[in-house]
Every structure is written in structure tokens, then in C-alpha cells.
């Protein structure tokens, strides 16, 4: 025991000197993992280079442009564009440049295909907003230079592929002209721009591709108008739908003459289908229309004559055309049939002949096929082989070749909406335990190797063996609960409506489940997942029940659409049940009460401010009734600048007499003046945060009492002018006000104004302090401020006599309705970087000191000790303060590279940081997500309660042996000496 405390002392001693989080390079991957994703693929272009590695370039809905290995699906390179820089089109130019058009057609960039280096960037302006098109004609040359044709913002540009220079441009300024297609017939020097004007006029412009000269302009009016998109069926024919969606218009503009033909859909398909939409495709001669239930493929034969080739009620996906020879085009078609998908590749002019027909088993959890991209290769027997890239409903990306899934990427994980954690099953006798150490010899050998490593005696082969042994350690990826609480399941909800369970040990997917309740249906048109809550966490009673999570979603983008609840078992990933609610879900309040099966009570507030209690059981109701008067909550209306406090009133009166529905009443409201303040951030403490002690011992044996209340809300408001971007206001007309509000009474406990500052504000609230990050316009730097709040009413308790005589108020009940005597301390510091997210470490008992986790603009996560944000810092701390650990005040917060939690990695597109306490007090688990995922363990005060991973047992053994030997030697000596003494 004494040795142990000695040991602790040493550790504490050493931890106070060096940066707390630090890693050796060979420790990467031991406790952390990093996964790279790209998001749901919007467009894919296959590189047709004959030599070298086959690759495919994709653009995604996360604004990522990436080059993937076609063999394994790995990322060669990847770039994440800005949030507003939505990619409109990609293509490959000259076989070696990837061309991207983004930001509504105003930025054109070219990237080097092999390494992803940007080659050039052009900004394209235009007279008005319009659709944008990117064409890379293969045969259009201009002084030996390939030309890109871009239509964007109402202007047609021809751009050099080599350096991005604009060769010519042509405006389409007609007020009502809406471009629909830009066509460059191969083998000619013409560009056609077709579109609608004033919604009933068809316009066609013929332009010389060499110089942008307008050759012809024709127009024709159609009294029935147009609706939706047009489909290009040949280089000089388009098909459109009239405004009722029931008549097909075939418009051809051969040789600059517009001719048209009208065909009612009912002539082609007997039974009436209702309004249809055209599915855009680029297959020549064929287009598809889709109604609610049926998809119809129609072929155009000759002079605007139409013919139905296929009618199907299956879910279907069609690829773009792929030219395989001079005059042949192929395309891929995917149809769903229960647990399989059928892939057919057809020639454009020959519907009935299939080039390829394959069936592939498909996991139902992937949902429907959303997109298909086709590519061909030449087999050894010189026939064509086809591979297709498919994008599924759950945003995953798969490559199919020869009837098999070659690789798949779970790119749904790039868009995580919410994260929660779940414990793993307890290790029982029946549960097989992976054999960790095979036998004593192996174990000793491993440790001897490690010892050799520490003594720098190991050869390179030994080093490699050590490294692989450390990384492989099967201990961390077992499927059972561990003593230290490091192994958990991360349950994540993605935008696609899929739940994933990731193992914290190695980040693998344990199970995944596409929520049925988040499937499109009659009642629920566009379901969106909102949040995850821990529904049932069995630990005391009900140990044989599996834990479950609650997924709250709603049926549409607006907040008054009805909600959907689903309950998912976290061990198996099965959806236990789902509930379609008849009311909306505006706010979900997990209550701190559980029933006998450890189901947590949740209060759902709807748009009419009724509160609904879940689970709907009589037991839950009786628990709830007991605490009826103690339930308070608040709501923030950031548009109106109002924060309101609410409490329950009585049972619902009105149309539905439901036992579990309650009326609410407004208790208080804080109204911010709309002309001077706008709410930009509100933060509260984490519900499950544990605070170890209320007392804080400061220098000179003094005690301060933290004001700890779960009902504190931090609100930041800025001047309405300053809510825009940096640089849009002067310091004089911008300010930031920070409030601490008690959410039960609505009392404002603290208010501070930062003049000349503006948002965005990122804040984190923990224990009795709040830290927030904002921009200081005067210094033109980012700043971080800390506010700590202390309870003064307990300050006199330090008198020993009062304690002895029982005159203290430690046991008196605390009510938020009594006026709290609080004092606040605050301080501000400069900070270098912009922030994307901020979080604080949390540990099991709250004893370990805290670190702030800052997600910087460079997509790294920086750990910053809370001691740097201590309002009691002074320039010259006294000796007593120094002993307490107060750091001398500096104007800016230090950035120590070794304390980057993500070390040399980037969590591309960082959105959130989640911290979960492990069972071991010193350790906290950190999960950062964005387009990438990153997980690690952190010990903010070092692992003082366990041996570190690289602890050398062999060294310990040697020391013990040496000590025993020393004891025997000294014993011998002592014996001899005693004998001599006796002889004397």
C-alpha cells in the first residue's frame, strides 16, 4: 500500500510539469481509432485511364470530392469544400484533371487526378441565378487546348481546361428565360442552349462553340405550359411534360427548326396514372416517367412517335448512358425483388436484348437503391464486362461486379445526427471469453520483448512484433463489459435514418438497422430522425432486460408535423416497437425518474404546449403524479428572442381525454429587445454530469462553495447587426451579452456585456462554470471567457464553532425560490483559432480535473486544461496560490501541439464532440464526429488509478528479484557482523 501511494505521489508529481495529454508516435492506434468517410454520393465519374490504378471520382452531399480506389474502395484523396460550396457537377478533363463546379455554378476548380492537388480555380459570375451545367466535350479543341463549357448564373462560358481562363462568354439576359439543357452534339462546333421562357415558351439558342457567337435563336410557344424537368432523348430532341403532367411534348430542334408533337400519356398507358414526372436520364432514345406507383419506360421512334417498352411497379434505378463503341450506348437498370436486386445492362437501342443480367443478394438494412453508375472494362476474351457503383438508401456505396459485391463503404456515418452510448452485456459463464494470454510462456515472452524495447535493445523485427502485439490486443474489442468501462457501444443515428452501433474498442460496426419508422410511407412523407435518448438502462433491477434507446423523429421539416417514436434494443439492434404519434414533438424532456423496469420517463411537448408522458403505463403515471409539482422546463424561441419557463397545470381538457396528456402553464418569460439583442447560443449543464464536491479549497485554507444547480441556463445574445459574418460590422455597433438565468424562476443571476464583440458563440457549461468563445472585433481576435458562480450563503460555514454548535445551514433545504446569494468571477483570454465545437471531459465521480475539448477550424480537437480558464489567475500569483496550482495570467491561451487529442489526424468536417465517462475515474472516452469519426480515451490528470499500457512488468519483476537478492545479501552480512560482535 505504501508503495502504491508512493507511486501515486510520483505520478502526481510528474503530471504537474508536462502537458497532460501526450502521445508517442508508436502509441497511435492503441487507444484511438479514426475512420474516414465521404457522405452520400451524388455523382460519380470513372477515370478511363488505361494504365495505373483504376479510380472513380465522386462528389457527395457532404460537399466532399474524393478519388476512390476502384479495387478496394479506399480513399486516394479527398477534399471537403465549404458548407455553402455545394457541388453542382464534376467531370474529368483531359484524362488527368478533375473539374468541379460548385457554389451554384460560381466556382470552377480543377484538381490533379493522381494526387488531388488543386491546379486552378476560376470564379464565374453572371447576370442572374440559374441552373448550372458543366460539359466536358472530348473533341472540342481551341488552339490545342481542350475546352470546358459551363453554363451558370445565366451566362455561358467556354473555359480552357489547362489554366481555367475564360475564352469567351455569352449572356442570356432575357428576364424570364430558364435554362433547361445545354447540349454539345459530339462532332460538331455547335452548342445548343434550350429552356423555357415565361413558362409557356420554348426557346432554343444555337451557338458557335469556337467564339460564342449566336447563330440562331428560335422560339415556339405552347399554350399548355411546362412542368418539371426535360429529358434529352437525342442531341436534338427533348421531351417535356405539360403543366398538368398528363401530356408529353416531344420537341425537336433539328437544324434550328423547332417542331413538336404532343402525346397524352393516356394514349400510351391504358389506365390513368395521375400526374407524372420525368426521371432525367441521358440515355438516347429512351426516357422514363414516374407516377405514384408505376414507372414507365418510353422509347422515341423517329418523328416524335412514342412507344412504351416497359412498365414496372418495382422500385427502380437507372444509370446514365455509357458509350461503349462508336454508336452504341449501354445503361444499367436495377430492380428490387425482396432480398435481392436484379441488375440488367441493356443497349439503348435494343430494349429486349440484355448485355448482362445478374442477381445480387442485398442486405435489407441497406434499403432501396438510390443511384446507379455504370462503367465497363474489357475482359481477357475481349468482350465487355460491366461494373456498377450503387448508392443505397442508407447512403452506403457498393461496387458490384460479376454478380458480387466487391466492396462496400458505410458512408452514412459521414452524417451523424445524434450519438448516445450503451453498455455491453455482462460477461456470464456461458459467454465465451476470447483467449487473451495463451500461456505463461507466451506472456513472459511478450513482456521480455517489451523490456527489450524499453531498454532499446530490440532489433527492428522485434519492434514490429511489439507494435503488432500491442495493436492486436484482443482485450479491447471483446463484446462484453470490462472492469474499467472502456468497452461500450456508441449508438449513432445518421441522416439516412439508420442506426449504427460502433464498438469503442476498434470502431467496428456491431450492428446496423435502417429504421422502418423512418421509411417513407403514406402517412409520413419525408421522415427525419431528430434525437436519440437512453430509454432503458438496466443496472439495479431488471438486469436480464437488454438496454434500449428511444429514437425521436418527425414526418416533415416543419416542427408541427406528427412525430414518430421507435425503441431499439442496443444489444441486438432489433426495433422493439414503434409509435406513430398523433401529435408533434417540439421538445423532449427526459425526466430523472425510472419505473420498475428501469424505463426512463420522458415528457414530450407538442406544438400546442401540451405535455405527453411516455411510457404510457399506469406505473409511470403514478411516479409522475408524485413529482407533478416539481417538474419545470424552459423553451427558447430564438426568432422572437423570448425564453419562457413552464410547469404542468392539469390533465388535458379538450377533444382527446388522454390520461397521459397534461396542460401546461407559463411561469415566466424573459423577452430580449429585438432591436438590440438576438439569441445566438443557449447552453445548460449535461443532465448526467456528476459533481464530486461543492466545496473548493482555495489558498490560505479558505473555502469557496460552488453554486451548483441543474437549472442554470447560459444565454448569449448579440446585436442584430452583428449576427452576420465577421467583417460585416464595426466594433461600435456590435456587442455580445452573456446571461446566466435560473430556469425555474426566470431570475437573471448574472449579466455581462462584451462591447465590440460578435458571434458565432460556442459555449460549454459544467459544474459551476461556463466557458464561451466569441470574436472580439476591436482586437480582431477570438476570445474565450469563463464565468464561475459561487454560493455566498454557505460562505460562513467555515467557522468550526458553528459546525460544533450545529448552527450551520448545511442541512437546510435549498429552494430556487429563495433569493440566492451568489457571486461570480470571470476572466477573458485571447484564443487563436475559430471553433467548430466545444465540449468538456466528464468522469465517473467528477473527481478528476476537467479539460476543455476544442474542435478547431482545422478539424482538430485540442485539449485545454480548465486551469488555464480560471478567473482567479493573476499576473503574479502568491506563493500560496502557486501551490494551489494557479497559473500566472497571460493574455492568450497556450496551444501546445502535444495536447491535440487527434494528434496528426483531422476529423474532417467536425460537427460534434461527445464525452462519456469510463468506470475508471481517471479516464473519459471522447468521440468526435463529422465527415470522419475519431475516438480516443483521455485521462485529464493522467491515469493515476491504473498502470499505463506501456508499464513494464518485466522491469518490475527484475526489481523485485534484485531486492530479494539484496535482502539475502544484507542478511548474510548482518548475520556475519552480529557473529563477529558476539565474539568480541
Amino acid at each position: 500500500m505504501a508503495i502504491r501511494s508512493f507511486f501515486l505521489f510520483i505520478l502526481f508529481f510528474s503530471s504537474s510539469l508536462s502537458p497532460v495529454f501526450s502521445l508517442y508516435e508508436d502509441q497511435v492506434g492503441l487507444m484511438d481509432w479514426h475512420q474516414q468517410y465521404i457522405g452520400k454520393v451524388k455523382q460519380a465519374v470513372f477515370s478511363s485511364q488505361r494504365a495505373g490504378r483504376k479510380r472513380v471520382v465522386v462528389s457527395t452531399e457532404e460537399n466532399v470530392i474524393a478519388s476512390l480506389d476502384l479495387r478496394h474502395g479506399e480513399i486516394f484523396w479527398r477534399h471537403l469544400l465549404g458548407a455553402d460550396d455545394v457541388i453542382d457537377g464534376i467531370d474529368i478533363g483531359l484524362g488527368k484533371y478533375v473539374i468541379t463546379l460548385s457554389s451554384g455554378g460560381s466556382i470552377l476548380r480543377s484538381w490533379n487526378l493522381p494526387d488531388g492537388q488543386m491546379v486552378w480555380e476560376s470564379s464565374l459570375q453572371g447576370p442572374k441565378h440559374s441552373k448550372s451545367f458543366l460539359l466536358v466535350p472530348t473533341n472540342l479543341k481551341f488552339d490545342k487546348d481542350n475546352v470546358l463549357v459551363v453554363f451558370s448564373n445565366g451566362r455561358l462560358h467556354a473555359i480552357s481546361c489547362i489554366d481555367g481562363e475564360v475564352l469567351w462568354k455569352k449572356d442570356f439576359e432575357a428576364e424570364s428565360f430558364e435554362v433547361q439543357q445545354v447540349i454539345q452534339p459530339p462532332g460538331s462546333d455547335l452548342i445548343y442552349v434550350v429552356g423555357f421562357a415565361a413558362s409557356y415558351q420554348f426557346e432554343m439558342y444555337q451557338i458557335n462553340a469556337k467564339n460564342g457567337e449566336l447563330l440562331k435563336h428560335e422560339s415556339a410557344s405552347f399554350s399548355s405550359g411546362f412542368s418539371g424537368e426535360v429529358s434529352l432523348v437525342s442531341t436534338e430532341t427533348v421531351v417535356a411534360l405539360d403543366s398538368t403532367g398528363s401530356i408529353l411534348l416531344t420537341i425537336s430542334f433539328q437544324d434550328g427548326k423547332i417542331s413538336s408533337q404532343q402525346t397524352p400519356i393516356s394514349n400510351l398507358v391504358e389506365d390513368s396514372l395521375g400526374p407524372a414526372v420525368i426521371i432525367p436520364s441521358s440515355v438516347s432514345g429512351i426516357f422514363a416517367i414516374k407516377t405514384d406507383a408505376v414507372t414507365v419506360f418510353i422509347r422515341v421512334i423517329g418523328e416524335g412517335k412514342l412507344e412504351v417498352v416497359e412498365k414496372t411497379t418495382h422500385e427502380i434505378a437507372v444509370s446514365d448512358a455509357l458509350s461503349i463503341s462508336e454508336d452504341q450506348q449501354a445503361f444499367a437498370l436495377i430492380q428490387h425483388a425482396s432480398s435481392e436486386i436484379h441488375l440488367t445492362v441493356k443497349l439503348a437501342h435494343d430494349w429486349d436484348g440484355n448485355l448482362l443480367k445478374e442477381s445480387v443478394k442485398m442486405d435489407r438494412q441497406r434499403g432501396l437503391v438510390h443511384k446507379v453508375f455504370i462503367n465497363n472494362y474489357i475482359r481477357t476474351d475481349r468482350s465487355y464486362g460491366f461494373r456498377v457503383l450503387i448508392v443505397m438508401e442508407d447512403h452506403s456505396l457498393l461496387l458490384l461486379q460479376q454478380g458480387e459485391i466487391v466492396w462496400s463503404r458505410e458512408d452514412g456515418l459521414a452524417s451523424i445526427i445524434d450519438v448516445t452510448t450503451s453498455e455491453l452485456p455482462v460477461e456470464r459463464n456461458g459467454v465465451s471469453v476470447a483467449k487473451v494470454e495463451h500461456n505463461l510462456f507466451e506472456w513472459l515472452k511478450g513482456h521480455m520483448l517489451k523490456l527489450k524495447g524499453t531498454l532499446m535493445l530490440a532489433s527492428p523485427e522485434d519492434m514490429a512484433a511489439i507494435q503488432s502485439m500491442r495493436l492486436k490486443s484482443s482485450e479491447k474489442s471483446k463484446m462484453t463489459r470490462d472492469h474499467n468501462g472502456f468497452r461500450k457501444l456508441l449508438i449513432v443515428l445518421t441522416r439516412a435514418g439508420k442506426l449504427f452501433a460502433l464498438h469503442t474498442g476498434d470502431g467496428r460496426i456491431v450492428w446496423s438497422h435502417l429504421l422502418r419508422s423512418l421509411h417513407k410511407s403514406e402517412a409520413c412523407q419525408s421522415p427525419i430522425g431528430l434525437n436519440l435518448y437512453q430509454w432503458q438502462v438496466p443496472h439495479h433491477h431488471a438486469m436480464d432486460e437488454n438496454p434500449s434507446v428511444l429514437v425521436v423523429s418527425r414526418c416533415g421539416p416543419s416542427s408541427d408535423t406528427p412525430g414518430v417514436l421507435s425503441f431499439v434494443d442496443t444489444y441486438t439492434g432489433k426495433e422493439l416497437s414503434s409509435l406513430s404519434l398523433d401529435h408533434a414533438v417540439v421538445q423532449v424532456i427526459p425526466l430523472p425518474y425510472t419505473d420498475s423496469t428501469e424505463q426512463r420517463l420522458h415528457l414530450l411537448i407538442n406544438a400546442d404546449k401540451h405535455a405527453h408522458l411516455y411510457p404510457k403505463t399506469s406505473e409511470a403515471l403514478s411516479i409522475f403524479k408524485r413529482e407533478f409539482l416539481n417538474i419545470y422546463w424552459y423553451s427558447v424561441e430564438d426568432q422572437n428572442g423570448i425564453i419562457k419557463g413552464h410547469a404542468l397545470k392539469c390533465k388535458c381538457t379538450g377533444e382527446v381525454a388522454d390520461e397521459f396528456c397534461f396542460d401546461t402553464r407559463d411561469l415566466w418569460s424573459v423577452v430580449f429587445p429585438s432591436e438590440s439583442e438576438k439569441i445566438v447560443a443557449t447552453v445548460t449543464r449535461k443532465l448526467n454530469e456528476v459533481v464530486h464536491t461543492q466545496a473548493k479549497v482555495v489558498a490560505d485554507q479558505d473555502v469557496m462553495y460552488k453554486y451548483i444547480s441543474r437549472n442554470l441556463l447560459f444565454v448569449a445574445t448579440v446585436a442584430p447587426k452583428g449576427s452576420g459574418e465577421i467583417g460585416s460590422v464595426t466594433p461600435e455597433e456590435s456587442w455580445l451579452v452573456a446571461y446566466l438565468i435560473d430556469t425555474v424562476t426566470g431570475r437573471i443571476l448574472h449579466r455581462v456585456t462584451h462591447h465590440g464583440s460578435q458571434g458565432p458563440v460556442h459555449a460549454v457549461f459544467s459544474e459551476n462554470w461556463v466557458v464561451y468563445h466569441y470574436f472580439n472585433l476591436r482586437a480582431h481576435r477570438y476570445e474565450m471567457s469563463v464565468i464561475e458562480i459561487y454560493d455566498q450563503s454557505r460562505a460562513d460555514n467555515i467557522d468550526v464553532w458553528k459546525l460544533v454548535l450545529g448552527k450551520h445551514n448545511l442541512t437546510s433545504p435549498i429552494s430556487l425560490f429563495s433569493r440566492p446569494e451568489v457571486i461570480t468571477k470571470s476572466q477573458s483570454y485571447f484564443f487563436t483559432h475559430s471553433l467548430k465545437a466545444i465540449a468538456v471531459t466528464s468522469t465517473a465521480k467528477g473527481i478528476t480535473s476537467k479539460q476543455l475539448l476544442l474542435g478547431t477550424i482545422g478539424d482538430q480537437v485540442l485539449a485545454l486544461d480548465k486551469r488555464f480558464l480560471d478567473p482567479r489567475r493573476t499576473v503574479n500569483p502568491t506563493q500560496a496560490e502557486k501551490e494551489e496550482g494557479i497559473i500566472p495570467l497571460t493574455d492568450s491561451l497556450p496551444i501546445i501541439p502535444q495536447s491535440y487529442v487527434t494528434h496528426a489526424l483531422r476529423v474532417e468536417g467536425l460537427r460534434g464532440i461527445i464525452t462519456v465517462p469510463a468506470k475508471l475515474e481517471s479516464t473519459t472516452l471522447v468521440f468526435a464526429h463529422g465527415v470522419d469519426l475519431f475516438f480516443t480515451q483521455l485521462a485529464p490528470s493522467r491515469t493515476y488509478d491504473s498502470l499505463t499500457e506501456d508499464f513494464s512488468y518485466a522491469l518490475l519483476l527484475i526489481t523485485i528479484v534484485a531486492l530479494v537478492a539484496a535482502i539475502f545479501v544484507t542478511w548474510r552480512l548482518s548475520e556475519r557482523k552480529e557473529l563477529q560482535e558476539k565474539w568480541r
Binding site: 508517442y24 508508436d26 459570375q125 467583417g727 475559430s834 482545422g858 494528434h903 544484507t970
Partner: protein, 202 residues
Amino acid sequence: MAAVTPLLLLLLLSSAPSFSSGSRNAYNINGRVKIPQGLGLGTKGYALPGRMSNVKVLLNGGQNITFLRPDGYFSFHNIPAGTHLIEVSAIGYFFSPVRVDVSARTPGKVQAALTENRKGLSELVLEPLREEQYYEIREPFSIMSLLKSPMGLMVGFMLAVAFLMPKLVENMDLEEMRRAQEEMRSQGVPSLSSLLPGGAMN
């Protein structure tokens, strides 16, 4: 972008009024990121592949993001007049954010300053303030580190007690030692040999 010629890039802040309608006061910010070659690549021992291609330049906390051309130049298009903040994100380097003033009255004038040390820049060439080393460096094995380790300290302490204490006792005055021995005997402190099982045989 006919305006993007090397000559104009050297002017670094060519703020020609944009030709787009509706945004008469939009300017371009052009600059260059310069990472000194050889800095750290060989000396510190870790080189990240594709360094230049992974550098991002961010305007106003991520409102606009752009990338570097092979020669290190970058540009932001259609930026309104005002005071802006440019940040460079590059793994392995620490860049100071730069305050850039785009003025509507004096187009073409460069007003840039590093916010970390308030140093003004005559032209918008951004260089890293320092390199960032994300990993601790393993100290080579040395006797001192072994001795400093808890185990080494323990052994050292034991040795000190075992060998230095008798020396101290030797140097004591004979009388004093006898007195101390008397005291010890009266208190009944057992000697080391009697503590061990073999000691009982004496």
C-alpha cells in the same frame, strides 16, 4: 478569370470591381501561403504525404474555404469590403490568423496584419509561425531515466539505507552509539537478522 495573371497575383490584393451585377462592391483577395522547404522535413523525421494539397485557407471562420494552387497561391472571390480574418489550416504547422482590410475607397491597397503578434504584412504572404510536433519524442535509453523511474528510486533508496546508514553509524561517537544501542535494546527493536526466519536459530 482573365485577371488572374502572375503579375496581378504579385500585387496580392487586386481588388478590381467585379463585373457581376448586383454586387458592385465585391472584391477579390489574393495571397500566398509559403511553407519553407526543408523546414522540419528531414530534421524532425516525419513527413506527411501530400502536404500542400491538404492545406486549406479559411475566410471568416469557414464562411469561404479555398485551397492552394501548386505554387501556393490562393484567392477568395466576391468578398465585400470590410475587415476579414484569414486562417490557414495545415497539419504540422501553426499559422497565425491574418486580419485583412478590404477597403472600398482605396482599391488595391493591402492592409494585412498577423493577429497573434500584431505584425503588419506588406504583402499577403502567409508563413507558419512554427512547426507543430504532435508526438512526444521517445527519449533514448539512459541510466538516468532508469534511476529516475519509480522503481529506480525505490532501489536507490533501499541501497542508500542499506549502505549509507551503517556508515553514518560508524562515524558516530562511540559513547553516543552505545547510548543509542542501549536505548534501542530497552525499546526492544529487533535486529534485521532476528526478523528473518533464519535469525531465530541464533
